[in-house]
């Protein structure tokens, strides 16, 4: 206690006094001093100015501004050669004033990367060996540092820019000095300073034009074009990689596409100093990048749910076109903050710089007409408890609302005249009444849930549209609306009205697997893996891969409450090839069987076979097959129904049974 309170008391010094003293930034003065060789003088005096700089701020700003020397700058010329350039000079060269504007804002840009322009057209970076700093060569030959201690990311930026621009010939371009360039853009990398309240004229444009690969550097505020540099695709890509390493792949493609004159369906202007952008890109890469970025955000790890919206400052992101109209839950509310609302509680998170740079690039591009829908809850995992057809009738229980009451969904499978029909019902927990949601005929149907943060799973189906190759609208009864958009995308709505956009892939055959990938709806923490779907019986291809396959022949002992036939009195067990042979025969029989479930009860002593594979679970078969005992000559029904003409015969290895299967109904 002793005198610690005095230390704390100092912290309570009136803010205005602190602010007054804040103008005396010792560190900044020292930095200037060290480069100019003279003391910079008291604060308030203009600090050194620049000959030319490329601004690369917040990871996303680039531009070229050039200014004249300001009063107050002192220090003698420092002559340095550029050994890396063929035009290396040992004399101080004046900037080419006819190309560059004569004024430069005194506002000190931050995170600046230096690009000096010389009359002979060279652009030159000046670095100091052994330090991460880059210095600016001023018009009088003096140098001043414009970067502080380095970080890995900025180093990458600098290296990338240095590699590309150093020694480049700066050219005067048509339209220089006028309001922009009339050349038609195919795309532009719009690099913004990223400071949310800069409000100044720091927003510069670094446009790359079609074909020529010309990087035109201009001042966005007045359209003044400073000059142009010819860049190759590789160089563009190099810059992109350096600036946004994590987006390198995307920008690689972007650069290529730009030269090809396509790719970005809609790249619009609108970037402001505060970073507003309405860039829209319809390819899926950015979407996936967004997922990636969000996935790595603390906001996500900390119970974040919801989507990116709206009224933020930094991005000026106008939010997704929310078809459902529901309020987003995550807002990038400006600068590095994201607020997350959940259950009436708002949490605020700060997004680390590295991740912010990704979001700055990605988020504005998310608004894509092809991906309409409002992000909903973060989706933890997708659960497909069972997705089968065949003999299994599914009842899926889920606490859909998180209210402690489990909702019941039932998938009923039936076959009529050889056409498989599957119906999904919603079962009212209180009354037991069922509401038919949808019916699928002769197609694979999966049913499952996407579990969200708030216990609001989404019922979805993987039905129509999967195999047809057509765009269909398989609309489930409200409130479980599932609209299949352009295949393989589907928009799934929950009862709460929050749609998810999922990508569904799969085949409607016995070997079907389903991948439901949430591509718009926030983060998929546990990314969806292909879900093996036990669509009835495994086919021959699967059969050959099964380990320790065996067939247990059982007497039917009854029917459970779901109508599933239960076999629990084992008659015999076949192994290996014998089991597989039986399986094949059963399968063949099933292909011709009539699933006349109404007749199950008519055959109380039917026999079933349970095919078991240690690596792939159990397969139940209850088809229209029968066994004939060699000894007695009696037929034992495997399933139900009466025997008809014999189409196939099977004798098990142990000689116990002869199976008669595939009986036409």
């Amino acid at each position: 206690m002793k005198n610690d309170i005095l230390k704390e008391a100092v912290m309570h010094i009136d803010a205005d006094l602190v602010e007054e003293a804040g103008a005396f930034s010792a560190g900044a003065q020292k930095a200037v001093k060290s480069r100019t060789g003279k003391r910079a003088g008291f604060p308030g005096r203009a600090v050194a100015t620049a000959a030319g700089v490329i601004l690369l701020a917040g990871g996303i700003t680039a531009g070229l501004i050039v200014g004249s020397r300001k009063p107050g700058l002192s220090g003698g010329p420092r002559v340095q050669s550029d050994p890396g350039s063929a035009n290396a000079t040992s004399s101080v060269a004046e900037p080419q004033s006819t190309v560059f504007p004569s004024e430069w804002s005194e506002n000190e840009p931050y995170r600046t990367i230096v690009l000096s322009a010389y009359p002979d057209g060279r652009l030159r970076f000046q670095t100091i060996a052994g330090t991460p700093k880059i210095e600016l060569a001023a018009s009088d030959g003096s140098f001043r540092p414009v970067l502080g201690t380095g970080r890995a990311d900025s180093l990458k930026n600098r290296k990338a820019l240095f590699k590309v621009f150093d020694g480049k010939q700066l050219q005067t371009v048509p339209g220089a000095g006028e309001n922009g360039i009339s050349a038609e853009k195919t795309f532009s990398i719009r690099l913004c300073r990223g400071e949310w309240d800069s409000g100044g004229d720091y927003s510069y444009v670094f446009d790359i034009y079609e074909g020529a690969g010309t990087a035109v550097v201009s001042n966005e505020s007045d359209g003044t074009v400073f000059g142009a540099v010819q860049l190759t695709t590789e160089e563009i890509s190099e810059i992109a990689k350096g600036i946004f390493p994590t987006l390198g792949t995307f920008l690689d493609a972007a650069a290529e596409s730009a030269l090809a004159g396509s790719a970005f369906a809609d790249v619009s202007d609108g970037t402001s100093p505060s970073g507003q952008s309405t860039v829209r890109i319809t390819d899926g890469i950015r979407i996936s990048k967004l997922v990636f970025a969000l996935k790595n955000l603390p906001v996500v790890e900390a119970d974040g749910d919801g989507g990116i919206s709206g009224s933020n400052v930094l991005f000026g992101f106008s939010g997704p076109e929310n078809g459902g109209g529901s309020a987003p839950d995550i807002s990038i509310i400006g600068g590095p903050y994201a607020s997350v609302r959940q259950g009436g509680v708002t949490k605020l998170f700060r997004i680390p710089r590295a991740q912010m740079s990704e979001l700055e690039m990605i988020v504005p591009d998310l608004v894509s007409p092809a991906f309409s829908g409002t992000p909903g809850s973060r989706i933890e995992k997708i659960i497909i408890p069972q997705a089968v057809y065949g003999l299994t009738v599914q009842r899926l229980e889920w606490d859909y609302n998180g209210d402690g009451t489990k909702d019941l969904f039932r998938l009923e499978t039936a076959s009529t005249s050889g056409i498989l029909r599957q119906t999904i019902y919603y079962v009212d927990a209180e009354t037991g009444s069922e509401t038919q949601l949808c019916v699928f005929n002769d197609i694979f149907v999966g049913i499952g849930f996407i579990e969200g943060d708030e216990g609001s799973p989404v019922l979805f189906d993987c039905g129509e549209g999967l195999t047809s190759g057509e765009n269909r609208n398989a609309t489930l009864s409200e409130p479980y609306a599932a609209t299949f958009l352009a295949e393989p995308f589907a928009k799934i709505s929950t009862r709460g009205g929050k749609p998810y956009l999922v990508s569904v892939n799969g085949e409607g055959d016995d070997s079907a697997s389903v991948t439901a990938t949430v591509i718009y709806g926030n983060v998929v923490k546990e990314f969806l893996k292909p879900v093996p779907v036990r669509s009835g019986l495994p086919d021959e291809r699967i059969l050959s891969s099964l380990d320790n396959f065996r067939a247990e022949v059982c007497f039917r002992s009854g029917t459970n409450e779901n109508g599933t036939i239960r076999f629990n009195e084992r008659v015999n067990t076949l192994y290996g090839d014998a089991a597989k042979a039986l399986y094949r025969a059963s399968l063949s029989a099933a292909a011709n069987a009539d699933y006349g479930q109404s007749r199950i009860e008519e055959v109380p002593d039917s026999v079933g076979i349970v095919f078991i594979s240690e690596n792939n679970g159990e397969y139940y078969f209850c088809g229209r097959v029968a066994f004939q005992s060699r000894e007695s000559g009696e037929y034992m029904e495997l399933s139900y129904g009466s025997l008809h003409s014999e189409t196939q015969r099977f004798v098990a290895d142990d000689g116990t049974y002869e199976m008669i299967a595939g009986l036409a109904g």
Binding site: E8, M11, G148, I333
Partner: protein
Amino acid sequence: MEDSTIVKKIIDRDDTAIADVMSKYGKYVRTIARGILSDERDAEECANDAVLKAWENIPQTAPDDLKSYLGMLTRNACISRKRLNSAGKRGGDAEFVSDDEIGEIAGNGTVSETAEAAELGRLISRFLRERDAAERNLFIRRYWYGDRISDIAAAFGMSESAVKMKLKRTRDRLAALLKKEGYVK
């Protein structure tokens, strides 16, 4: 917007308060951060951290003076960052001895245990207002911002010994005031 309104919004977990804070005090906290940290990005991060800290803390302890509170949080964040940046460097701790200097104002005496920091802060503010600008700013740069003596000397165009002497005299005057006011026994 009134500070009280902003504070209430924070207490109510209204995230628009963050935008309000940044609108009203963003420049202030960044100025402080830049005054302590030479790396602009570090300064930015610390300023952001400070606002976040305010968001986290205020529901428990609503400050009487939001601006000062933000300044203090920013300062602390920056000092922490500064310590982190200089960790392991030779003489890395040298710049943080200012805390000890201010703590020694009381000399062999003891500050009253009933004194509150805020109360003492007001007294120190009043004391500083009575000093000339140079003395006041030297004091705050050293003890609030935690500047190195050498940096202060460079910024103010003084020799380091002159800075030390001037600070010593200011501390002595403050010590005398504290004793006179009964805060130091």
